[in-house]
Each structure stands twice: as C-alpha cells, then as structure tokens.
Symmetry: C2
C-alpha cells in the first residue's frame, strides 16, 4: 500500500517548526532559517538546487530518503507562499523559481480555488479546496503507486496526524531554542499511542527521529 | 564559579517533562514513567538504588555526569511529593524512602514553611519559602564550592531559565509522544538566545542535548 510520509521536518529543541512572524521576508519565521542550515549543507540539497559541493553522511542520507519512492507531494498553502486570503492574481507560483525541486505533482491545500500551474521540470501545482482527504486521494492517484510526501507547515501535518493518515513521520530536532513560533506537536494527542520510534540517531548537528504508525 | 546545572531531564518528543494527571499513583503523570525507563536501565541508577545489574554506555555516562561535582540540589515541591497546599503534617519525607539517593543538602521550593528534615545517608531537605534566588543562594552555600543541580519539575526549571540562572541544561529526548502533560519549554523565550548546543548525541534509545549558557 502506498504510504503518506513526512520527512526532514525540522523542529527546534523547544518544538517549533517555524519561528514567529512568517511573511515574505521571513518565510520560515524570525529565526526559522536556523532550522534548515543542516539541510542547505547537504550534497543532495545542493545538487537539487544546482549548487556545488555539500556534505555527505547521515544528514544527506536522510535528505535523500525524503525523495525516495515519492510520486507526489501535499503541502499547506503557507508553505507554498506568503499570500493569505483570496489570490489577488496568479503571479505567485511558489518560492522555488521556474523549476521547483519537486519534479512531480504537488497538491496545495487552500480555501481559495485557483487553476493548476504547470512549472518546468515536471512540477505541477494543483490547488485543493475540498479538504485534506481529497488532497490525499488526488495525490495517491497522481503518485501512481508510489508514496506521497506530506510537506509542511506544522498545521498541515497536525491535520493529517489528527485524522490518523500519516504512516511515517521523520522529525529532525535542531538543538536551538526559538522561544516562540509554530509548534509541531500541539493538539495532536490522538496520535500519541499510534506511533513507535523506529530510528533515533544523531549526526552531531541534528537528532533524527523516525516514527512509524503501528495502530 | 560554581554553576547551576540541569541533568538528565527527560522530555517526550512532543516536549512534555511529565504526563497529565500527576498524583500519588502517577508521580510522573499518566504515561510519564515512559520517560524514565532509560534511566532505570542504567547501572549507575541501579547501583544508587541498591539494585543489581544495569547497562553501561552513553546513557549511563550521562547519569553519572549528573552527579559529578554536585554539592546540593534544588527541586520544586511537586518533585518532592504529591502533597499540595499547606503541609497537613510532617510525615511526607519524599518519594525515596529513608535513605534518598542525594546524600547532600536538598532545597525544596514551596509556599508553605516546614522544619528541615534530616534523612539517612547525608540527605537533608530544607524547605525554602522566599523564592528561587534565596534557594539558589542557600544551595550554593551548602554546596561549599561545588555545583548545584536543579531538579524538576518543568515549572521549577522554567522559573530559573526565565531568571537567567541556569548555566547548563542537559535534556534527554525520549522518542515517545505523550499528547499532553507538563511542557518543559514554555514561556521561556527569555532563554532563546542565551544558550549554545555543546553536545548532541543519540544512545539509540534517547537523544541527549546539552545546552551551555553563552550570554
């Protein structure tokens, strides 16, 4: 059975997946970029963004696992962009330029309908207005037998956790304190008994925790 | 300069240092005992509780470090016992029997005065009603040049973090989800910029994070 997987979701030691005050200038919230330095340093990330160099090793392996066997991605609207409310026009096509690093169908959860967007390199953005289950059905269909990756942000992941739809959850704990922001594990007590830790490892800069659904 | 150190403070992946519903039957809250299994498994813990066997290795090393160079301990009243409000009498002398595993002066923060208690094995319990700074002063004096360990619970640690008084904070992340309970990192944004991670390691069952005060 194809699975719904979360990978490389960075959270601070105090539990925040993004800093406070997310906007166009602070897509990850204030201080939130500190959550992602370990990603930017890896070779697979740099290759996928046409940058030279990068580290190999545990962190790079986790980044690669996040792409392996994935045929579609679901993300929340705030991960797609800083625009809130109704779309003023169709000029915003994501943070990632003309050739986003997905190269497969991406389903964006939103309350505001918008025609699909076809980018270069095989990425399409489809805007889903009828809920998380619909997005998941569409993503599984588009993935054509492969798994679906669930991107962020925190509130999107919480919705899928509460609905019991996440099969695997890989969290990367970054040992910084953000003080405030968007908590990952909040109002998800439904998930407490549903997962077992199947991997716990430290690269020295990040602690990787993999939870696998058991119930 | 003697330091105030927190050691082996276990928190769940979702950030709770104790489960919900702490009482006499559930001193660590419901599900909270799952936070401490890794401690009970170590040889130093078992030796200090006159139990045979136990594991050596990373987790055991961290448990030992928690005692090294410590001359006094501060703890919150809820860590001392389940009694709330005024002391009905003086029969409660802690969770640990006649010979608690401290063997040095322990200062218990409370709003309700009570005479000191002398236990076997060198442990004394002194009840401090005039605040966290007073407890710290008394503890440093009693430690006689050694460091002071700050025990739990979460709210006690938060008070000292907010006051900028914690020099070192070792958190052990246990990869379970409790769903609710007492969060460690809540209302401590004052501490966000004050610490650097000086150690991050995984024993396979627990991820150890050491923060050291830099500001």
């Amino acid at each position: 059975m194809p699975q719904l997987r979360v990978h490389n979701l960075a959270v601070s030691l105090d539990g925040f997946a993004a800093g406070p005050g997310q906007d166009l200038d602070h897509p990850l919230g204030i201080g939130g970029e500190g959550l992602h330095g370990w990603v930017f340093a890896t070779r697979p990330f740099r290759e996928s963004h046409d940058l030279p160099g990068g580290d190999v090793g545990m962190d790079a392996d986790f980044i690669e696992q996040g792409d392996a066997g994935i045929g579609a991605t679901i993300m929340g609207r705030n991960m797609f962009g800083p625009v809130r409310g109704a779309w003023p026009d169709e000029t915003w096509t994501g943070w990632w330029g003309v050739d986003p690093p997905y190269h497969h169908p991406v389903f964006v959860l939103t309350h505001h309908a918008r025609p699909p967007v076809t980018m270069e390199g095989g990425t399409t953005f489809t805007f889903v207005v009828d809920g998380i289950e619909s997005a998941l059905e569409q993503a599984f269909a588009a993935a054509d037998g492969q798994d679906v990756r669930l991107g962020g942000g925190a509130s999107t992941i919480q919705q899928y956790l509460r609905a019991g739809l996440v099969d695997e959850l890989h969290v990367a704990i970054v040992p910084i304190l953000l003080g405030s922001g968007e908590r990952l594990f909040e109002r998800v007590s439904e998930a407490s008994d549903a997962y077992s830790c199947t991997e716990l490892a430290s690269s020295g800069s990040v602690a990787h925790v993999r939870l696998t659904r058991t119930a």
